[in-house]
C-alpha cells in the first residue's frame, strides 16, 4: 500500500456556508498503479492531488502515506516525505525561467544535497533518456510546450520518486504532444514501476491509465 485516504473532508467557508471541496472521500493507491482522476471543472481533482501531494491540508479524515499517518505530522517532516517520494508535474510546466534545461532538472538534487559528480551523472542519464541532450543549455522560453513538459517530467523523475502527481499534464499541449507524454507515463509506469496519479479532462488520456476514478462535487462517484 502506497497511500490511503480515509473519509477525507475538506471545505471552505464562504458567506457563513460551507462549500465542500472534498466530501467523505476515501481512496487506496497501491504501488505501481496508474490512476486517472476525471471529473468536470470544480469537482475537486486539483484539490485531491494537492492533498495527496501534501501541499494542502484537510479538515477531517485520515491520510496514511507508506503506513505513516501524515495529517498530524510536522511541516518539516512532511516536506521531507514529499521531497523523498513525490514528484510533481504541472499543466503550466512551472519550469524556473532563469535556469537552463540542465539546471532545472538538477535543482531537486541540489535541495537534496546530492554530491556534484553524482548530480552530473543523474542529470546526464535523464537528458539521454528523454532525448534532450542537445537542448540542455537552452532556457525554458526557447522550448516548445511539449518539450517544456518533457523537462518538467524529467525534473519530477530526477529524485526517483515513488509517486508522480500530474495535474492536467497535457492541458496546454496539442494532441500529438499529448500522446507522446501519455506514452511516456505509461512506459514509466510499466518499466520503472513508478506510481502515477493524473488529473485530466480527456477521455483518451484517461484511457492510458490502469484505473480511472470519477470525481463529482468532491466525492468519488460510482461509475
Amino acid at each position: 500500500m502506497l497511500l490511503e485516504l480515509d473519509h477525507i473532508y475538506k471545505w471552505v467557508t464562504t458567506g457563513g456556508r460551507r462549500t465542500f471541496l472534498l466530501n467523505d472521500l476515501s481512496l487506496k493507491v497501491e504501488e505501481g498503479e496508474f490512476i486517472s482522476i476525471m471529473g468536470p471543472s470544480g469537482s475537486g481533482k486539483s484539490t485531491l492531488l494537492n492533498v495527496i501531494g501534501m501541499l494542502d491540508g484537510f479538515q477531517e479524515g485520515e491520510y496514511k502515506f507508506l503506513d505513516e499517518t501524515i495529517h498530524n505530522m510536522k511541516e518539516k517532516h512532511r516536506s521531507k516525505l514529499y521531497k523523498e517520494y513525490i514528484g510533481f508535474v504541472f499543466q503550466q510546466y512551472h519550469l524556473i525561467d532563469e535556469l537552463t534545461v540542465y539546471e532545472n532538472i538538477e535543482t531537486p538534487l541540489l535541495y537534496k544535497k546530492v554530491k556534484s559528480a553524482e548530480r552530473k551523472a543523474l542529470v546526464g542519464d535523464m537528458l539521454d533518456r528523454f532525448n534532450i541532450v542537445g537542448k540542455k543549455d537552452l532556457f525554458p522560453n526557447q522550448l516548445s510546450g511539449g518539450q517544456q513538459q518533457l523537462v518538467g517530467i524529467a525534473r519530477a523523475l530526477i529524485s526517483k520518486p515513488k509517486l508522480i502527481l500530474a495535474d492536467e499534464p497535457t492541458g496546454n499541449l496539442n494532441s500529438k504532444q499529448s500522446d507522446e507524454i501519455m506514452q511516456l507515463f505509461k512506459q514509466l509506469n510499466e518499466e520503472d514501476g513508478v506510481t502515477i496519479i493524473q488529473a485530466t479532462h480527456s477521455e483518451s488520456n484517461a484511457a492510458y491509465a490502469s484505473k480511472t476514478i470519477n470525481l463529482l462535487d468532491g466525492s468519488i462517484s460510482k461509475s
Binding site: L49, N50, G53, D56, F88, I96, L99, T107, Y111
Partner: protein, 793 residues
Amino acid sequence: MFRNYIKLAWRKIKADKMFSILNILGLSIGLGITLLLFLFILHEESFDTMYSKKDRMARVLVHLTDDESPETWCGSPPAVGSTAKNTIPEIENTVRFYHYAFGQPASISVNDKNLIEPRFFYADESVIDIFDLEFTHGNPKTALARPNTIIISESSANRYFGNDNPIGKQLNLENYKDFEITGVFKDFPNNSTIDCNTIASFQSTNFAKNPTWDNASFETYIVLSKNADLASVEKKISKLVSQEVSDPWYSLSLQPFSKIHLYSSNYQDSYSARIGNIEEVKNLSLLAVLILVIACINYMNLITARSQKRHKDIGINKTLGASTKSIILRFYAETALITLISILFSIILAIVAVPLFNQITGISINYRNLFTLQFIASLIIIWVVTSLIAGSYPALHLSRLAPQVVVKSGFKSKTSGLLIRKGLVIFQFTASIILIIGVLVVYQQINFIKNRDLGFNPDKILAVSIGAAENKNSINSLKNKLQNSSNIVAVSSAQGFPGVDVSGRSIINPLTENGYNIKTNNADSEIIEVLNLKLLAGEKLPETKAKNDSIVDVILNKKAVDFLGISPEEAIGKKVQLSLGNNSYVKGVVDNFNYSSLREGIGAYAFHNNATREFHNYLLVKFRGNDIGGVIEEVKDNFEDFIPNSAFQYSFLDKNLERFYTSEKRMASIGLSFSILAVFIACLGLFGLAAFTAEQRSKEIGIRKVVGASVFKITKLLSLEFLFLVAISLVLAFPLAAWLMNSWLQNFAYRIDLNWIIFIVAGVIAIFIAIATVSFHAIKAALTNPVKSLKTE
C-alpha cells in the same frame, strides 16, 4: 549550493533589466551619498590627530565674566603662557601664537617682491617641538632661538624663492622690520587647526618683552607632563589670574586639544578658519543614515513589486524540495549581490563627486581615504548591514509562503504586505518633503539676510589694506588724491569695518559701575559718510586732531547709549569710560547697524580717534557707477604712487559680509543636492509600488475596461490611490518640518517667519512628482488590452 544562488541571482538581475537598473541606481546613489558624507565625517574627525603630543595638549580659553553678554575667546593674554610654564610644574611646555596685526594680512617684501601673506604668525620657539615641525632646510633646534628670525613653510618658500635655498635670506615686514629666514618646514596638513605660512620668533614682538595680563589676542597652547591631570592644572591656571590681576575681567579655562576643531564654533577670535561644527557633523550623519534607509526601503519596494512572479518561483522551488531556509538564503544572496554591485558603483560615484563636493563645501576631502583599511572595513560593514536590512523583507516575508500557492489557480497574494509597502512609501515621502521644506527655508533665510537693511550700506565699498604704509602722511595724500576723483564718493581710513574684527573693550555705566562689551574702531571723520550710517545726535569725528591733543572723541551706537541709560541727545559731550583714556567724550551717536553676522544681535559699538591705541589698517573707498574694474585700477595706481613698497590688497565690503553665511550656504547646497537625490530615490520607490499595484490589479483593470471604463477613468483610479499616500506624507511632514526648521531658525537673531507658502510649494512639488511618477504605470495599465490580463487567469 551558494554558487547556485549567486548564479540564479545574477540571471534574475539580467532577466529584468529595468527593475535591476532602478534598484542598483537607487542603492548606488544612496550609498554614494553615504560614502561621501562618511568621508566628510572622517575628515572632520581626523582633525589635529597628527601631533604626537595631542593627548596632553590643551588650549587656553578666556571667558569674559563680569558683564551682561558672556563671550569666550580663543586668544589669551601673553603673560599666561610664559607665567604658566614657569610656575606650574605639571606644564611641560607652552606656545603662544600671535597672528600678525591681530589677524590682518601682512604685506611683506621678499626676494624683491611685494607680497600679501595672510597667515603671518609669531610663535614661541617651542612651536617646533610641540607641533612636530619637520624641517627641510635649517636647524630646528636653533631656528627661532634669536629675535628677528623667521621660518617659512615649504609652499611659501616655493612661492617666494622658487627652487633657491631661502636660508639666510631677508624677509621684510610692512617696511619696518627685517627677519632672517632660518628654516623651512613642511606645510601643516590640511586637517590641522593650526595653519601658519610663516612663523617669526615671538621674541621679535614687543609683547614678548613685557608680557601683560590684558590684550587677550594670543592663542596659547600648553603641553602637560605625562600623567598630569587637566582639571587640576586648569585650577592652577585660573588661580594665576587672581594672583596677578587685581580686578580680573576674565577667567581662564583649558580646552582639550581634541575638542578644538569641532567644539569651538561658538568661540570668538580663533586664528583658524578651519573651524568645524559638531552640529553640522551630526546633522550630516543623520542625513547620511536617512538617505541610506530611504534607499534600502526603495530596494524592498522594488523587489516586492515583482512578488507575483516571485510567488510562483518560490512555490515551484518548494515543491522541488527547497526549505524555507534555502529560500531565505537565496533572497539574501540576491540582495547581497545587488548591494555589492551598488557599492562598486557608489564608490565610482563618490570619487566623481568628491571634487564637486569640495567645491560646494569649500572643504578638501580626499577620495583616497576610500581605500584605507579603515574605510574598506566600514564598506564591508555597510555592505553586510545594507544587505541584511534591504533583504530582510523579501527574504523573511516571501519565504514563508506555502508551496501550494503555485498549484492553486485562484491564488491572490495577500494585501498585508501591501500595507507595509505603503507605509514605506509614506516614510520615504515624508522624509523627502521635510528635506524639500528644509531647503526652501534655508534658501529663504539666506535671501532674507542678503536683502536685510543692515543699518549701513555695504555696497560699492572697497577696503584696501594700508597696514604697510610707512607714515600717516602718505595715507592722507592718497586719501586726498582719491577724494578728488569723480568715481569716488568718499574715502575713510579705519582700523576695521563691519565684517572684520575690531577691538573688544568694556564700556562702564558710571551709575551702576557695570561693564558691557563694546567693539571699538579707530576711524577718521569720513567713516559715517562712507558706511552711510545714520547720525542720531551730535556730529562726526573732527577732521583733524593735533598730535598732542589728549582728548579722545567717541561716536557711540544707539545700543551703547541705551546701556548708559540716556538718550542720544543727552549723551553728547558726556565723558565716557571705555578704556580709551580718561579724556574720552561722546561726540556723536549713530543708529544701530549690523557690524557682524546676523546670527548675533547688535551689541555696543564705538568709533574713536585715539591714535595711540590702534592703527588704521584699511582705506575704505566708497565709489559710484558700475565700472568696478576701472575704480580698482584707479585706486591701485594711486596706491602704488603713494605707498610704493607695499602689495595692493583689497576686498569688497558686501562680499566680505557674505562670508558669515558660508556655513549656511554650504548646508543649503549640500541639503539641496542631497534632497534632490533623496526625492529621486523616493520616486523610484513610488515607481516600483505603482508597477506592483498595476500588476496586481491587472485583472480588475481588465474587467473594468470590458465593462466600459475609459482610459482616463482607470488612470485616475490608480493615481488617486498614490496621491492619498502623498497626502498622508504631507500631513506627517508639515508639523515635523515646521518644528525642525523653527529650531534651526533660532540660531539667527534676525530670521524669517515660517511661511505657509513654503509648505504649499513643497506640497505641490511632492504631488507633482508623485503624479508624474505614478501616471506612467497607471496609463500603461489602462492602455493594456484587457484580453491579455484576463486570459492568464
